[in-house]
Symmetry: C2
Subunit: 239 residues, 2 copies
């Protein structure tokens, strides 16, 4: 059976303007690959409700899971939760369990639980909360959509809570061979080997380090013995 | 007049599997912002012709420009040029000017100009070449789509050649204020200021550095005097 599929939706003007470099996509890609879920697409959209809703509805219908990052804080530009509610056609309210979590957090911190902070308890109807062990304000899962914070350490902590609850497939394994030859030199033999091992995926990635040109050849698949067999052949060709 | 819009399409299994961290999106975002072109969306898709064609046709119809990265090398997994030809419904051939560039390059290098390397001269009909000052194999522009390499230094060099040929708008300027207060504390006043300066865009980005929580408040716009006026008010509120 093929592995489940997933998409990522990164929400935030700050990524598209170049102010901030997204790092959550790379982290998610690595964790999903280990867990046997195929990250099949990623998108970045600005903080505009119409754009978030349209992308989310595309992605949640096309893939088994959607992971979002960004836009669930207390400020006026945090509009993700409302956009998710619109996309699913459900109401959104200050939910009692999220209010209780946040009220206790701000009481411990000696800070007022003001309107802006209460905004982080607004959760679309039907969602389940995702634990935030770092700053309390929860993410949530609605249907096949997992809504998480954009701040990297909080995104990573939320993902660590969600991922064990999802059924994964066989982890995607990979082996690489670094050769000090250009892609153009090895392309013919490499393509022939890829055609012979059509159950595996083979990719080549050129590098240029301090003026030395070469290529990393990567073999990916779920069967260790097949990857070993292909790597043995590859090494004999180019080592 | 609003600034021209653009989208980026990153093509490559290696990004989605987590093997490689994309850096071209962040670089493009910064250069476009300086040039007065709004990066409005970004997508990452795998090395599959159908997925590349579908994303490309969505994006080239929705935005003024599309920039792609990846998949124009000599190996079997480099399928971008063919996908672009399919998306535009045009033929693709080994083009004479690209063949001449590459033949001269490999002759200088004393390397055979074999089938794989000749593959990099395959250019869809009607395209104009984008110069590659690093490794010769050209990118190309077809309609409003600019097709560039995935290797970061080559992507950056190609972009540096393309960008001056594109009409930009007013560069998007920004100023930021770092405050040692949580987002929840400043959100109310910040939202009121954003509503008052509705011609500007204001965003807040929480940080947590060595246990110190705070927020970077960013004001963006194209009129320096307006940004100054808003920043003066912001500093008075929170400094």
């Amino acid at each position: 059976m093929p592995n489940p599929t997933a998409a990522m939706l990164v929400i935030g003007d700050e990524i598209l303007s170049g102010r901030t470099r997204d790092s959550n996509m790379h982290h998610l890609a690595q964790r999903l690959t280990e867990h046997g879920i195929t990250l099949a697409e990623a998108r970045v959209v600005p903080d505009e409700q119409g754009r978030i809703v349209a992308a989310l509805n595309d992605l949640r219908r096309a893939y088994d899971h959607v992971f979002t990052s960004g836009g669930i804080g207390p400020t006026h530009d945090d509009i993700t939760a409302d956009a998710i509610a619109v996309a699913f056609g459900v109401a959104i309210t200050h939910r009692a369990d999220a209010m209780a979590l946040l009220a206790a957090h701000y009481e411990r911190a000696g800070l007022p639980f003001n309107d802006a902070r209460q905004r982080m308890a607004r959760i679309p109807d039907g969602a389940s909360l995702i634990d935030n062990p770092i700053s309390t304000a929860p993410g949530f899962t609605l249907g096949n959509v997992h809504v998480m914070a954009g701040v990297p350490n909080i995104f990573e902590a939320m993902l660590a809570g969600v991922l064990p609850t999802l059924t994964g497939g066989a982890p995607l394994l990979s082996q690489s061979l670094r050769v000090n030859r250009g892609e153009g030199e090895i392309a013919g033999d490499f393509a022939a080997l890829a055609a012979e091992f059509s159950d595996l995926s083979m990719g080549s990635y050129p590098f240029n380090t301090n003026g030395v040109y070469g290529t990393n050849l990567v073999i990916r698949g779920t069967e260790p013995a097949r990857i070993d067999a292909a790597m043995t052949r590859l090494a004999a060709l180019f080592a």
